[in-house]
Symmetry: C2
Subunit: 118 residues, 2 copies
Amino acid sequence: MAFDPASLKYDAQGLIPVVAQDHQTRDVLMMAWMNAGAVARTLDTAQVTYWSRSRAAFWIKGETSGHVQRLVEMRVDCDRDCLLVLVEQTGPACHTNRQSCFFTALRAGEEVQIMEQL
Amino acid sequence: MAFDPASLKYDAQGLIPVVAQDHQTRDVLMMAWMNAGAVARTLDTAQVTYWSRSRAAFWIKGETSGHVQRLVEMRVDCDRDCLLVLVEQTGPACHTNRQSCFFTALRAGEEVQIMEQL
């Protein structure tokens, strides 16, 4: 079945959550949002492009930092209200210069930072 | 630093998105939502408990199906507005009886189902 970005379920703001996973290490890198235009741009360019809620603008991941995400594969979940993008990540995914945004683990009730800055 | 569920950033509905990853296979299994109470219950019981938006009730994952998720570790992202739970998944994570909810891949513009039902 041919894919149409309009067939996804977007929230009241027209957005869908997107989980980015490194296709090689399989680390979960980050979660961000796309609108239908960002989904289409990501598929058209293979350059992962989110929608920045704070800037209300397309956000080509890594456009400024160089820490781009090349799309390897996009997957849709069973409810069509969430996307998974498997990516080839250049440099750290997180703006704090860590490999993943999920660098804080909860261990024995304490917050522990488990990744170094690159 | 001691962790307090109230320190997370919840949306206007009091919810935070949660990505579940199999801690062994490293497959991304699903994305769902928690409120502060569900975060606390998940940590207290090590039984992953979401907030069901459709039922407006706690959703102990697998309580009916038996396809439970035992919490191995919870991680917080850099913006404190998304969680990653590493889990030990019993049976399929998806209500369609597939290992992961992300069983539809976009390949050459077509939707392709890449996982069998268990």
